[in-house]
């Protein structure tokens, strides 16, 4: 499956991926409304760590054998059999955050329900990848092939 990978050497620490992730996961899908006016404020699924000298955006790896899915106590966290996307059913999730405590990459955020990257499920290319100004995020197969 195609996954998002971050290239530290190219990351600018501009954090536009976070802005566009929020927008993509908002109700309005509008960059102003999503980031300024929408309540509750949508959470970004991607987080940039580091500083201007070395930074990288961290996204869910959608592991082949995801620990979060195994640890989920409600069956809300599942790995889609066909697409391989690991996602949360927000109606089932009770926000216990056991997934957060077992994710070795630190890719799950706490919210009312667990918040994590879903590779923008209905889009060809995730919003963060599409909007990265320096191509520091790539959306490729494990072999590194694009599309």
């Amino acid at each position: 499956m195609k996954r998002i990978y971050a290239i530290e050497e190219l990351c600018l620490n501009c954090r536009l991926c976070e802005v566009h992730c929020k927008t993509a996961h908002s109700l309005s899908k509008d960059v102003f409304k999503a980031n300024k006016y929408e309540e509750p404020t949508p959470e970004s699924r991607v987080t940039v760590y580091g500083n201007n000298f070395a930074s990288a955006a961290l996204n869910c790896r959608h592991c082949d054998d995801p620990k979060c899915v195994k640890a989920c106590i409600t069956g809300a966290m599942t790995k889609d059999k066909t697409t391989g996307i690991v996602y949360v059913n927000e109606n089932k999730c009770i926000g216990c955050m056991t997934c957060l405590a077992v994710c070795p990459y630190g890719c799950i955020k706490q919210g009312k329900a667990a918040v994590k990257c879903d590779l923008c499920r209905n889009e060809n290319e995730p919003a963060c990848v599409k909007n990265c100004p320096n191509h520091a995020l790539i959306y490729v197969d494990k072999g590194g092939e694009e599309k």
């Binding site: 050497e9 190219l10 990351c11 600018l12 620490n13 501009c14 954090r15 536009l16 976070e18 802005v19 566009h20 960059v31 102003f32 980031n35 300024k36 201007n52 000298f53 909007n131 100004p133 320096n134 191509h135 520091a136």
Partner: protein, 501 residues
């Protein structure tokens, strides 16, 4: 300093309504014009150090930023303009030579804008470049005085080394040091894809550019940085840099603190030592001395590489070009005074040298008069802003053109002209790693390729309109040019008629 004698130049206007406080501008501005307020959430701007590079404007996801000229009127004075007053204040403060980057911003006449091109009507047909072949391939190198052929028609003349370009546009010299490695790499990749050449400048060859040396022009400048046998032999053309359009007669000085490990390796000088390019080549004091250096380079390269001599366009440029040609140069590059630079003394940049249009026309005419024009190649440099400028230059007599500013703009340069500060927000004219990584060669080389490809299309279109199907037929074809609003003398030097004649 409590009194600021110089008003700031720009104001950053932030539309609070649109700003989402994402902080992108805060993290992107190397001049530190944006910051978070004390609440660590609200972004505010202070404009003191804004250079109008537009990094923040272009990256702002909501378009909340705008750069405005800061208008602060002085009492009107056509002589003591605000600019002179500010420069005086700056010098009164520092006691130093004023430095600037890029080409001169002064309002000297741009002759390209006063030359009009011809097109075919009725008496000769125009050509549709989409339907018919259109040749813009350009061949540089010394041509034999005359061709002798044996009975079967085969040439008996030994041809000196030639370089084939798929477009008459080359990338001019920008050294590793003045621009970042990523910028050089982008140009190198673009040159490879376009089938043209990039010039690595006088700063030596970074090992990362090794794969692109077959598309490179290497420079031998007065500092002789990084020059060795492999350096010369792996290139396509060897260029002796005598002068640079933006700063004729001036050498260069790269302070020791900027000579990092990588720069020191490329330049082959000790780390931390000053890299001084003397104003003259200390072994060239005459045309005869130049001849010796050309000969030495040809020996070192086994006569396999064309040797180019690059000079700045100065007052007696025609005689100098003629001398270079006689000294054995295969190619002569003339750099006009509007050419760019990483750093030059402002007074030199803005006052020394002549425009490329006039220099090119007079040099071409002089070589024709002497009967040597057909033997050597002329390359024009010094600010080509669009494909029409290139067509006009070729019609004035250039074989090919050197472009640098245009590809830099394609890579993000906004002509903020503060290259000399080393804080280029677009990662071009800087060596700071957190800035250079902003320029991803994989993205930028495509933009440069796109630009030149577009220009190629336009050149073909313009040539087709003139009824010309090969760039060779355009070269020196001054009948295709007409001046507009030019004086008799200017028309005489340019060798063109006035519009309507």
């Amino acid at each position: 300093m409590s009194v600021n004698y110089i008003p700031r130049r720009f104001t950053v206007v932030r539309d609070k309504e649109l700003c989402i406080n994402c902080g992108c501008c805060v993290r992107q501005c190397s001049n530190e014009c944006h910051c978070f307020a004390d609440d660590r959430k609200t972004v505010i701007s202070h404009s003191a150090d804004c250079v109008a590079c537009h990094r923040c404007v272009d990256l702002c996801p909501t378009g909340a930023l705008r750069i405005e000229k800061y208008v602060c009127d002085y009492r009107e004075n056509a002589n003591w303009t605000p600019q002179y007053q500010q420069e005086i204040c700056r010098q009164a403060q520092t006691g130093g030579v004023l430095l600037s980057g890029m080409g001169t911003p002064k309002d000297y006449p741009v002759y390209w804008d006063k030359i009009l091109l011809n097109a075919s009507q009725v008496t000769n047909p125009s050509i549709d470049p989409l339907r018919e072949p259109m040749e813009i391939r350009t061949i540089l190198g010394r041509k034999p005085e005359k061709l002798t052929v044996e009975k079967k028609g085969k040439s008996t003349v030994e041809m000196p080394p030639q370089v084939i370009l798929e477009t008459p546009i080359m990338f001019s010299a920008m050294s590793f040091g003045s621009i970042s490695l990523n910028a050089q790499k982008s140009l190198a990749m673009a040159a490879k894809e376009l089938g043209t050449l990039f010039n690595i400048g006088e700063g030596g060859l970074h090992p990362d550019l090794q794969p692109f040396t077959d598309r490179s022009i290497v420079q031998v400048a007065s500092g002789r940085f990084g020059v060795h046998s492999d350096y010369l032999n792996n290139s396509k053309i060897v260029e002796i840099k005598i002068g640079q359009g933006a700063k004729p007669g001036i050498g260069g000085h790269l302070p020791g603190e900027k000579v990092s490990v990588e720069v020191s390796n490329a330049r082959m000088i000790p780390e931390g030592s000053d890299a001084i390019s003397p104003a003259p080549h200390h072994d060239i004091y005459s045309i005869e001395d130049l001849r010796q250096l050309i000969w030495a380079i040809k020996q070192a390269t086994n006569n396999k590489k064309p040797v180019c001599v690059k000079i700045a366009a100065v007052h007696n440029v025609a005689a100098i070009v003629s001398g270079c040609a006689r000294a054995g140069a295969d190619i002569v590059a003339i750099d006009g005074f509007r050419g760019g630079t990483g750093a030059a003394p402002t007074r030199i940049r803005d006052n020394v040298g002549i425009p490329i249009e006039l220099a090119l026309a007079s040099a071409d005419q002089r070589l024709r008069d002497e009967g040597t024009r057909s033997q050597i190649s002329l390359v024009a440099a010094g600010s080509f802003r669009c494909s029409a400028d290139i067509v006009k230059a070729i019609a004035l007599g250039a074989d090919a053109c050197y472009c640098a500013s245009a590809p830099l703009i394609a890579m993000g340069c906004h002509m903020c002209a503060t290259c000399n500060t080393g804080k280029c927000n677009w990662g071009i004219a800087t060596q700071r790693p957190e800035l250079t990584k902003r320029l991803n060669p994989d993205i930028m080389y495509k933009r440069v390729v796109n630009l030149i490809t577009a220009w190629n299309h336009e050149i073909k279109e313009i040539m087709g309109g003139m009824g010309i199907n090969s760039v060779d037929s355009l070269r020196g074809n001054r009948l295709m040019l007409r001046g507009i609003g030019l004086s008799e003398k200017e028309l005489e030097i340019l060798g063109i008629k006035h519009a309507g004649e």
